[in-house]
Every structure is written in structure tokens, then in C-alpha cells.
């Protein structure tokens, strides 16, 4: 039983609301990423779940046990969770085996069993030959794996990962991402993964919770988050969405609607509850824009600059009639366009961001 339920949790530091009415339900065995820029409250939330800090409002339950409420605070020692710290927090005065064995010793596991479990944990992260090394003698990726083994050897009901890849080289990250994914598949442990890197979150998580300024903006599967952002902040943050004003003329029963974008008629996706309105906003992706002939229907834009990104260009343009409206798209190599060249852009898809629920 390792559901994690976070209900209306708030945390204040003086007058600053580090967490503002956050609620998330994490199913047993689920892999949830908490995504946000630094200072968004994701680390505060992790420390709440771990029990390092007390909350100011709300309730956190692990399994059926309320671990944090206003009245009661179960200390971290008693929560049966595991954490992989950003700094790994390996104890430098202990060997790899001693680091991994520590939690078992604390739990009173005696030696043949303890030794066996340490070996199994090290085998799981493919560090069999490293038991007697000191952390200082390991590479970054190996330290990461020791931290993982140490965290999992006690079979915690819930594992928290605090930006575990932030300190690794880019080429190591991909390998470790695979490792986490396999790991989660093999152990079936509930995992909460804190990160500021959306590619990492998308690659790993069953669901992603997007946070900003202490508030939870949206919890959804990666694809839903990308295709159907719940608000303009999520739309702009995830996949660099372009948020543009549209008129919604008509709403159809199949979850689409007819819109007008700078005079260009586009059929977009929307929620079934979407109403016709002239003040809606839509989220477009770079891939939703296509360069068409000058006489085809579309939005007329002018190129500001073309940035070469290896194999393709990223074109940054503005709408000719509305210089403040910026559009970007990719164009394959070879491509030559002088700045200020006019382009006709056809919009093939889009998502009408649902109006905020008044309350």
C-alpha cells in the first residue's frame, strides 16, 4: 500500500507562500514527475513528503497513514520512504557496501541476510565489484547508482528522487534515464521524481505535475500535458508552446471547434465544455505551422531570424499585422531566407486553452 495522497497542502516561509493549496494523488506503483523551474516549490513539496519540514495546512498520507497533518507530524525516520538526493549524499567515510547496508543495520537486519541484500542491491545497479570502494573513488554515474541501491535496499514503499540527474554529464543522463525506467518497471515502487528538465520528465513519468510559484498547475500524462495544457503557463512552459488569442466561432461535438486566428480560419481541438467566445487563447506548437504558397490561406508573417540548430533551422517570425505576436517553427536544411522575408504560414492544429474556472 503506497499510494501517496497530498491534500490541500500549504507551506509558508514568513509571508512567502512556498506551497499554495497543492493536491496530488499518486497511485500505487505510479511514476510521477514534479516539474517546474527553480523556486517553484517542488523541493519544498519533496521535503514535505519526506517529513523534513512541517506543513501549515492540509494533509499528506502515505498508504493509509496520515503522515503530515496540522496536528501530527510523523518524523522522516518513521515514514519508510527512500530518497535519492541531488548531491547523492553518500557518506564519504563509509565504503559502498557500508553505505548500502546502513539502512538495513538501522532496521536491525543481521548479517547473512544483510550481506545478501546488499549484494543483491549492488547487482541490481551493476556495481558488484565496487563494494569495498569509497564514494570518492567512483565516477558520477557510479555514485548515482550507489545512491539508488542505498535507497532501494530497504524496500521503501515510496521513493523520492530529487533532481537525480542534475549533476551528471549530458551523455550519462540518457543512460541513467534508461536505468530509472527499467528500475521502476522491475521494482514497481511508487516514485516521485523532482526535476526542472521537461525532457527527463516526459521520458520517465507516467504522469507529470507542473508547478509554478508554489501552485500546482496541472497533473496529466506527458502527452496530454503537451497536447492539452490546462492553462497558458503550462502551454508556454511545456514544449515552448505559442499562446495566441483566437475567436471561437462554433464548437462541435467531437472535441473540436472552428476558430479564427489573425483572420485565418483554423479547426482546433478543445474541451467538450468549450463555449463560443471572442477572448479565447490557443496553444500552438512549432510543428503545427507549415510554410505554404503566398496565395494559400494562412497567417502572413515576417522572419526575424533563423537559428541553425543542426540539420534544421528554427525560424523566429512575427505576424505581419500584429508585430507583438511571435511564431516559431522549424525548417529543414538547406534553407536560405533573409530576415524580413514574408512567409505565408498555415496552421494545421491547435488547442484552445480552457477558460479558468471561476471560483
Amino acid at each position: 500500500m503506497a499510494r501517496l495522497t497530498i491534500e490541500h497542502v500549504s507551506k509558508l516561509f514568513g509571508a512567502f507562500r512556498a506551497l499554495d493549496d497543492v493536491s496530488i494523488e499518486v497511485e500505487d506503483g505510479e511514476f510521477v514527475a514534479i516539474l517546474g523551474a527553480s523556486g517553484c516549490g517542488k523541493t519544498t513539496l519533496l521535503r514535505q513528503i519526506a517529513g523534513f519540514d512541517k506543513l501549515d495546512a492540509g494533509r499528506i498520507c502515505i498508504g493509509n497513514m496520515a503522515v503530515s497533518t496540522i496536528e501530527r507530524h510523523i518524523p522522516p525516520e518513521k515514514r519508510r520512504i527512500g530518497i535519492v538526493f541531488q548531491s547523492y549524499a553518500l557518506w564519504p567515510h563509509m565504503t559502498v557496501a557500508e553505505n548500502v547496508a546502513y539502512g538495513l543495520t538501522v532496521a536491525g537486519v543481521k548479517d547473512p541476510a544483510r550481506l545478501r541484500r546488499v549484494e543483491a542491491a549492488l547487482a541490481l545497479v551493476e556495481l558488484e565489484g565496487f563494494a569495498e570502494r569509497r564514494p570518492a573513488a567512483l565516477s558520477g554515474g557510479q555514485r548515482q547508482r550507489v545512491a539508488l541501491a542505498r535507497c532501494l535496499v530497504t524496500e521503501p514503499a515510496l521513493v523520492l528522487l530529487d533532481e537525480p540527474l542534475a549533476n551528471l554529464d549530458v551523455h550519462l543522463r540518457a543512460a541513467m534515464e534508461d536505468e530509472f525506467a527499467r528500475f521502476h518497471a522491475r521494482t514497481g515502487t511508487t516514485m516521485i521524481y523532482i526535476t526542472h528538465d521537461q525532457a527527463e520528465a516526459m521520458a520517465l513519468a507516467d504522469r507529470i505535475a507542473v508547478m509554478d510559484k508554489g501552485r500546482l498547475l496541472q497533473v496529466a500524462t506527458p502527452s496530454r500535458l503537451y497536447r492539452e495544457p490546462a492553462d497558458a503557463t503550462v502551454a508556454g512552459f511545456i514544449g515552448e508552446g505559442m499562446v495566441l488569442p483566437v475567436d471561437v466561432h462554433a464548437v462541435y461535438g467531437d472535441g473540436t471547434c472552428a476558430t479564427d486566428l489573425y483572420g485565418h480560419r483554423v479547426r482546433m481541438r478543445c474541451t467538450p465544455a468549450q463555449k463560443t467566445t471572442s477572448t479565447a487563447r490557443a496553444c500552438l506548437r512549432a510543428g503545427d505551422l507549415r510554410i505554404v504558397g503566398p496565395s494559400a490561406p494562412g497567417v502572413r508573417a515576417r522572419v526575424d531570424r533563423a537559428v541553425y540548430q543542426g540539420g534544421f533551422f528554427r525560424l523566429e517570425t512575427h505576424v505581419e499585422a500584429h508585430p507583438g505576436a511571435l511564431l516559431h517553427l522549424t525548417a529543414p536544411e538547406p534553407f536560405t531566407l533573409a530576415p524580413q522575408t514574408a512567409l505565408q504560414l498555415q496552421v494545421t492544429d491547435g488547442w484552445v486553452i480552457p477558460a479558468p474556472v471561476e471560483g
Binding site: 510523523i74 518524523p75 538501522v106
Partner: protein
């Protein structure tokens, strides 16, 4: 089940925290409160009789005046030397900096009474060294050091390193950019020193001055060796004489006297506090060290001047002390024929008091060091990672017995322990235990500061990682934190050991037969005219001190800058 489970951590946490609060309260609040009580209400009844009697006595005011004169004079000498040397060492490109710092700071680690003894052997008609080179004054002429000027000079020499350390720590934090901006504006190094460095260094300089003043004020060894023979009494020596001459019957009076000196010290500390704003400059680490000024053709002359100073201040007196320890009797010239190790033989193997003193001083210093580390490691845990108002007060409280002059604590301890302990019926007075109590109380902060700096360098997630596996506080302290702060704790323990090993102020007031310390024995040898024995014993303590200081140069692991003053 969860309620009970959640309870155990809290019980362990609270028990440890309140245990530490209790320990610190007993070590510092209890004695000082008892002292205040004695001043206001001796024997439990409100009375100003003792106060009036002491304040009406002319000897009180003479001693106070002497104390102020020597403390201010000593501070001026120390600040002059310390500031010049700190500026040269911190800001210029002199060579062999570490070796110089080690030698320059050494007098601070050598007991004041040994420094006094060494200088006495350097001057005066019976100086073995002066005799060897035929410069000794005529027999019967007074030793020029037996004077206020002598006390001032030696206090200055003893505490110049204190000013040096405070100021150098400040100079280390001086941002390089500020100096470079001045250079870019076309200012010469001297203009920069005057207009940029000096104003910025005002807080550490004032802090150093205050620290130096309080140390001079509380010093017992130097005025005891140089002042008592000429009847030039300062407050600590006046207290000592009263208590040694008349015994505990004058406790109320010496309590008032120690409150007078305490009041002067508090004033000094208050000024320091005001300037420091609770910052300890000795353990701040430099973020961006300054590139030293090039002395160019002045480098060699400056280096020669600095080393000459060190040789005059440190080497010459120690050589004089060594020579005196090798002659059979004071006044006998040292030649190949007269040189003898008999003095060493006597103090090491024959004199019962000296033999006991070795055991006592080693035991007291080692015990105090171990006990203080055991208090400091958990105490620093709470101070650094569980901040609260209670803990801030606790930190200040722990500093008091060290900040106040040693005689204040000693008198306070006598008041607390003169009568048998309640319930137990055992009296600690006239035993080594009262000295141990004072050492622990007084030197707690010497162990606490390095350990605090160790915690500040520690990544807290190391502890949280252990917490998350279910390890309770005591286990985390033992298996995770203690090993990680071990290098700084070791450094702190050594600092405590060295300081306690060379201590005299407290033990001069608290010793009893069987509970002598090395400082007390050196003092009584000298007072009884046995300068050669005193010199031999003093040389032995210097040897132990230097050996231990050198050994710390090999401590592995990262120590924050300034944890051990002599480690450059």
C-alpha cells in the same frame, strides 16, 4: 502505533536538547549567577557591606588603575605589532608565509607565565644568556621587567598574535575587486591601504582590540611574575593574594573584586559585540582571496624585519629560558663544565609536586578535551541545524566563561563548590574536580567554534539520508556526523588540550596539595627563588606544546581557515 513511534524520536531529541541546555546552564549560568548572588547577598542575606568595604579600600582602586594601565598599554603594543604584521603577511608577497605565521602565533599558545619567566631570564643581573656574552648588569641592580612597562611589553608580545589573527581573517575576506578597482583608478598601494583597506578593516580591527584588551585584563601569569615582586598589583593578582593569604573567609570580598574586573571585561565584550554583530571573523572563509601586492626590492628587507621580530620576541627569550634551565644555580655562568641536566632530573623524577602536576595537567587537559568534544558535537548540531531563540541564548551562554577573565570563573566555582554538593554530600573544593569543572566551562567554546565551522561545511543531506533510513538522532550523531566532523573536533580538542595544559589563572586560585597543575608548580618554583627548576619545567611544557602544534600540521581532512590559528 504511529503515535508511539512518532514519540520516540521526539523524546530522544528533547532529552538530548534539554540535557545540553542543562549542561551549559550548570557550566556557565550556575557559577556566574552564584557569583552575582554573593556580591548582593552574601550568606543569603541582602547586604551591601562587602561591596562598600571593597569599594572603600584604596587597594581596590590602585589595582583597578594598574589593571587599566597595563591592559590599555598592552593592547596598544599588541595592536601596533599585530596590525603591521597582519597587513604585511596578508597583503604582500613575502615568502615562507606558513612558517612565519606558525612562529609568530606561537607565543599565544605558550603559557603567559612561561613567557614571563623566559623574558625574566633574558634580562636582569642573573641572566645566563647576558652573562655568557658579558653584558649582564651588576648584581643587585633590578630586573627592568619588574615594572608596569615590563608587564605592558610582555602583554603586548603575548597578545599581538591575537590582533594579527583577527585582522588577517578580516583581510582574507576583503574582496579582490575592491582593491583592483582602486588600482584601476590609478591609486598607489599606499593610497589603497589608507583609503580602501583600512576603513573596511575597522570592524575586525576593533574586534581585535576589544579581544586583546579583555585578554590583557584577565591575564594572571605575566603580572604575577613581573608585578608581585615589585608589589605592582593588578586585579587578578590582588584577588590571588587575598585568597592565598586569607583563605575562603574573604570570599565575599574577592567576589566583589572579580565582579569589578568582570564588569570592565563585559564593557570590552560589549564594544566587540557591537562591532562584530555576532560574526566570528576567525572562522569566516575567504571567497575570493586577494592577489598580494608585490614588494619588489623591499621584499627582502621586509622579510628580514619580520623574522628579526620573531627571533627577538620568540627565540631569544626561549633560548634564555633554555640556558637557565641548564645551569646548576642562578648566577652560575653556563660553560661546558657547569652545564647540567640536573634541573630536568629534579622536576621529572624527584620533586613529588612536579611529578603529580604532570599527571594532573595531562589528565585534566585530556579529560576536558574529550568531555568538551562530546558536548560540542551534539550542541553544535542543534545550534547549526535547529536554530531557535533558546539556542541563540545557549550559544551566548556557552561563550561567557571564556569571554570573562579566568579569575571570575574561578571565584564563582569556589562559591558553588565550597560547600558539599547537595544530596551527594561530596565537596569538590580542594580537589582536581573543581579545576576540571572550570576547564570544561572555560574552554567549551574553544571546542565548540571549530565544530560549528565543521557543521557549516557539512552537506546536511548526509544527515537526512541517514534519517530517511530510520536512524534516530543519537545513531546519526554517532555513525554519520561524528566521523564527518572528526577532523575539526580533533583540532578543537588539541586547542583545548594545549590551552588547558598551559593554564595558570584558574588553577592558581583552585589548586590544593595533590591537585597541582604544571602552571602552579612553575609559579611556586619561581616564587620560591628556584628559577632553574622553574625554567626546566617551563621548557618541558614548551616542548610538549610545540610538539603537539607541529603534529596538527599533519591532521588530514579539510579544516576551515582559522580553525587552528597556527595553521596558515
Amino acid at each position: 502505533m504511529t503515535e508511539a513511534g512518532g514519540g520516540r524520536e521526539r523524546v530522544e531529541d528533547l532529552a538530548l536538547l534539554w540535557g545540553l541546555v542543562g549542561v551549559v546552564a550548570i557550566l556557565s549560568v550556575l557559577p556566574l549567577a552564584r557569583l552575582l548572588l554573593e556580591g548582593i547577598a552574601p550568606n543569603g542575606q541582602f547586604s551591601t557591606a562587602a561591596f562598600t568595604r571593597v569599594l572603600a579600600s584604596p587597594s581596590t582602586w590602585t589595582a583597578t588603575r594598574h589593571s587599566l594601565v597595563t591592559a590599555v598599554g598592552g593592547t596598544i603594543v599588541a595592536v601596533t605589532i599585530g596590525a603591521v604584521v597582519a597587513t604585511l603577511v596578508a597583503l604582500t608577497d613575502i615568502r615562507a608565509r606558513s612558517a612565519f605565521v606558525f612562529c609568530f602565533v606561537l607565543p599565544l599558545m605558550i603559557a603567559p607565565q612561561v613567557v614571563a619567566l623566559a623574558w625574566l631570564q633574558l634580562f636582569g643581573p642573573s641572566s645566563t644568556l647576558l652573562k655568557m656574552i658579558g653584558l649582564a648588569p651588576a648584581m643587585g641592580s633590578p630586573n627592568p621587567l619588574y615594572s608596569a612597562e615590563g608587564i605592558i611589553a610582555l602583554l603586548g608580545v603575548q597578545y599581538a598574535p591575537l590582533v594579527f589573527l583577527t585582522l588577517r581573517a578580516g583581510l582574507r575576506t576583503l574582496p579582490q575587486e575592491l582593491v583592483e578597482a582602486g588600482l584601476a583608478a590609478g591609486a598607489s598601494p599606499f593610497t589603497i591601504l589608507r583609503t580602501i583597506v583600512a576603513p573596511l578593516m575597522t570592524p575586525p580591527l576593533v574586534a581585535g582590540i576589544a579581544l586583546c584588551f579583555v585578554s590583557c585584563l584577565g591575564n594572571f601569569g605575566i603580572p604575577a611574575f613581573l608585578g608581585i615582586p615589585g608589589n605592582y598589583l593588578v586585579l587578578p593578582t590582588l584577588i590571588y593574594q587575598r585568597l592565598a593569604g586569607l583563605g575562603p573567609s574573604v570570599l565575599s570580598e574577592v567576589a566583589v573584586l572579580s565582579m569589578v574586573i568582570g564588569a570592565i571585561a563585559v564593557l570590552g565584550i560589549y564594544v566587540q559585540d557591537l562591532m562584530l554583530k555576532r560574526r566570528d571573523f576567525r572562522i569566516t572563509s575567504a571567497s575570493n582571496p586577494m592577489r598580494p601586492f608585490e614588494l619588489a626590492r623591499w621584499r627582502l628587507p621586509v622579510e628580514i624585519a619580520l623574522w628579526t621580530l620573531t627571533i627577538v620576541v620568540l627565540m631569544l627569550p626561549l633560548v634564555a629560558l633554555l640556558l637557565t634551565s641548564l645551569v646548576p644555580a642562578l648566577g652560575v655562568p653556563l660553560t661546558a663544565n657547569t652545564a647540567t641536566l640536573a634541573n630536568y632530573d629534579y622536576v621529572l623524577f624527584e620533586h613529588a609536586g612536579a611529578k603529580r602536576a604532570f599527571v594532573n595537567s595531562f589528565g585534566l587537559s585530556a579529560t576536558a578535551a574529550v568531555v568538551i568534544v562530546l558536548i560540542a558535537v551534539p550542541l553544535a548540531y542543534f545550534l547549526v541545524w535547529r536554530r531557535s531563540r533558546l539556542l541563540r541564548v545557549l550559544n551566548l551562554t556557552a561563550e561567557m566563561p571564556y569571554a570573562l577573565p579566568g579569575v571570575v570563573l574561578a571565584i564563582a566555582a569556589i562559591l558553588v563548590f565550597l560547600k558539599p554538593l547537595p544530596l551527594l554530600g561530596i565537596s569538590l573544593y580542594n580537589t582536581v574536580w573543581i579545576i576540571l569543572f572550570c576547564y570544561i566551562a572555560r574552554f567549551l567554546v574553544l571546542g565548540l567554534r571549530p565544530v560549528l565551522s565543521g557543521y557549516y561545511q557539512l552537506d546536511r543531506t548526509l544527515e537526512e539520508a541517514a534519517q530517511i533510513t530510520g536512524a534516530l538522532l543519537l545513531r546519526r550523531l554517532r555513525t554519520i556526523i561524528l566521523p564527518l566532523v572528526a577532523p575539526v573536533a580533533m583540532a578543537g580538542a588539541l586547542l583545548i588540550f594545549l590551552t588547558a595544559f598551559n593554564e595558570l589563572t584558574v588553577s592558581a586560585l583552585l589548586w590544593s596539595s595533590g591537585a597541582e597543575t604544571l602552571g602552579v608548580i612553575v609559579f611556586s618554583f619561581q616564587q620560591g627563588g628556584d628559577s632553574t627548576y622553574a625554567a626546566a619545567l617551563a621548557m618541558l611544557t614548551v616542548a610538549v606544546t610545540i610538539a603537539l602544534m607541529v603534529s596538527t600540521l599533519f591532521i588530514r581532512g579539510k579544516l576551515a581557515q582559522g580553525v587552528l590559528p597556527w595553521r596558515g
